[in-house]
Symmetry: none
Subunit: 228 residues, 2 copies
DNA sequence: ATTATAAGTGAACATCCGTTCGTCGTCAAA
DNA sequence: TTTGACGACGAACGGATGTTCACTTATAAT
């Protein structure tokens, strides 16, 4: 990321691209493709559009998602444009979900099971934080201690999980490692019979275990670090 | 059969799809793909997603563009969902708060100020996450990149802040460090004229700066790592 | 029970679309 | 003149993505 620039310091092409993108999003509700941008601004090559899009990222006007169709969004207002109809924010008023807050997650033992807790503690969350999946078996745990720090989870954080015993690649899961006698939160990647458990913090090294030595206890839906 | 319907007459899947789409757009700035919708809502076949998307078009909630990736947009706000919606969902005991979601935090520049961003996105949070303080000037930022990793904050996390220029000992604050030309999130401790900025991750060392070289931009109320 | 309709599945397909690479022209600095 | 940075071109590649179809399952009406 380089230094942000002013709109006027951009090339004519780049200005046109920005304006076109803003109009396109307003009109369609989703961003244009590289080829559409090129067509609209008189650029014959997709790579040139790509090149200038990256320039706009450097200039601080744009954010892109790698290898994602239409994966871009404007992050800075353009000057001198009346966007009267721009903010068509559609607000869903969602119902809250009350999630049971079970005890603590500690490194030295598996997750608690459902019925062994009578703690009536619960917190309210929005469906946004549950990933919009079926939430009937979601629950929450408060993290005690710094043992999850390699998962970027601190003491006092609240982890919202869904009980399940399998996982897909890329899921963050709570796993019980019988060999080590500890519970941990890691990203899950299966490679045949080996399972790689990748910490969220890239400064830590992954753990590799056999499938038999890796009991998935739940999938992490989200993490909350509450106001203190 | 193409008559507009009420939100509650939709199937559970279709409701989940709608809500997922809205949050996805809020988070990414562009709509999801058919496959992403399926993954998020537990639908194994793209054709079923396609099928239900067309149902949502018939019901008047959605517009689609033929053969266009991510070619969809929400065109109808949802009425309040009432409490007879089954499952565990309940009404908020306190009012939900809709917090503006401004652009992004980047290490290389100060927090954006209110009026230089066209903020049209917002997320719903519970008062629990705002620390039950006055929420009129709370706002949210999406974290881009791993530059906040020493604050235990990852790429994609959402930070909820309150605009303020002072801080008390122990607060987590967003500070602009003019000497370094970067914004960072740290715990704030004042020691006379020196200010110690302590990372949330104890493995990182604190920064010490003079009060003049430390511009507090806001206090961090909470951090959300949304479901992905 | 039978039938009709809606909903879901899994696979195949064609195309869309972002990425990459070698090449070229321009312009300013050395 | 040479060099290098910048902008641009066009083609090719491969993965992403919407569409379609034959088939199955679930639900409800007759």
């Amino acid at each position: 990321m380089k230094s942000p620039k002013e709109f006027n310091s951009l090339s004519k092409r780049q200005k046109n691209m920005l304006v076109y993108m803003e109009d396109y999003v307003t009109l369609h509700g989703y961003p244009p493709t590289i080829r559409e941008i090129g067509e609209a601004t008189g650029i014959n090559s997709t790579s040139v559009v790509n090149y200038n899009l990256n320039k706009l990222v450097d200039a601080g006007f744009l954010e892109r998602s790698d290898r994602v169709s239409r994966g871009m969004r404007l992050i800075k207002a353009l000057p001198n444009r009346d966007k009267k109809s721009a903010s068509k924010t559609i607000q869903f008023t969602e119902a809250a979900v009350r999630v049971q807050l079970y005890g603590q997650i500690v490194a030295g033992q598996p997750l608690p099971v459902y019925n062994d807790i009578n703690a009536q503690d619960s917190i309210e969350v929005t469906p946004f934080m549950l990933g919009h999946v079926d939430t009937t078996d979601a629950f929450a745990l408060r993290v005690k201690g710094d043992s999850m720090i390699d998962a970027l989870i601190a003491d006092g954080d609240i982890v919202i999980l869904r009980k399940q015993e399998t996982a897909n690649n890329g899921d963050m899961v709570a796993v019980w490692l019988p060999e080590r006698g500890e519970t941990t939160l890691k990203y899950f990647y299966r490679d045949g019979e080996r399972i790689r458990l990748q910490p969220a913090n890239p400064q830590f090294v992954p753990i590799e275990v056999s499938a038999a030595q890796c009991e998935v206890q739940g999938k992490v839906l989200s993490v909350i670090r509450p106001a203190r």
